[in-house]
Symmetry: C2
Subunit: 131 residues, 2 copies
């Protein structure tokens, strides 16, 4: 930490030609302001984590593409895990707010939430962003 400050000081000296204590402090302040504006980082990391697994990602995308509720038994035809694995995956997606479940007699149906639709839409698009 003190170590880090020293390095930034030398960097600024290099960049600015000269450098006072105040400059280092100001720059570190700016950097911390940037970081502080990131209060929701944890929430969004959890969101990403939910999609950072092929089973879950496929489930979400199928549900988004379907645009309607699908039965667990139908989802089982789409991913290659046991019933148990499927259930664990769906429950993780519910926790992340990407999917909602509804029990219907002896069947259970899941559908994508608005958030899931928004996210998947953008992820699809982002891959083709030119740079």
């Amino acid at each position: 930490m003190a170590e880090t400050q020293e390095r930034v000081r030398r960097y600024l000296e290099d960049e600015l030609g000269s450098c006072r204590e105040a400059d280092v402090d100001e720059r570190l302040g700016e950097l911390n302001d940037l970081a502080d504006a990131l209060g929701t980082a944890t929430v969004e990391t959890e969101l990403d984590s939910a999609l950072a697994n092929e089973t879950r990602y496929t489930l979400v995308r199928v549900l988004v593409a379907a645009g309607e509720e699908l039965c667990v038994c139908e989802l089982g035809a789409v991913v290659d895990v046991t019933d148990s694995g499927l259930s664990h995956a769906l429950s993780a997606l519910v926790d992340a707010g990407l999917v909602e479940g509804r029990k219907d007699g002896r069947w259970k149906k899941y559908r994508a939430t608005n958030r899931a639709v928004a996210l998947v839409t953008v992820l699809d698009g982002s891959v083709t962003v030119d740079e």
Copy 2:
């Protein structure tokens, strides 16, 4: 698999009142078409994985917020890992196409790519999607 087909068959019988073999086949076909349209799933899972960690996510967001190159030494002031950990994180982000690095004398500077800007922008927004 054969097990899954049986269950879907019973489900469709339940939903439709009756059900022929052809109906099951058709439904399974539809589901597989949905899944097949997801060819890029792996790529996007990797994208999400890159952001599914607080260190990396913070780095990307700081770089996006900064809107300019930042020196590794400056980034070190923002996340709480060793130099080595920071370097590993940045290299993972480069692999994911979210960040680009440039060597400048004895310093190294990183900046966010367009893809990173697009993704972060949407993730910021998605959290406030009402449902």
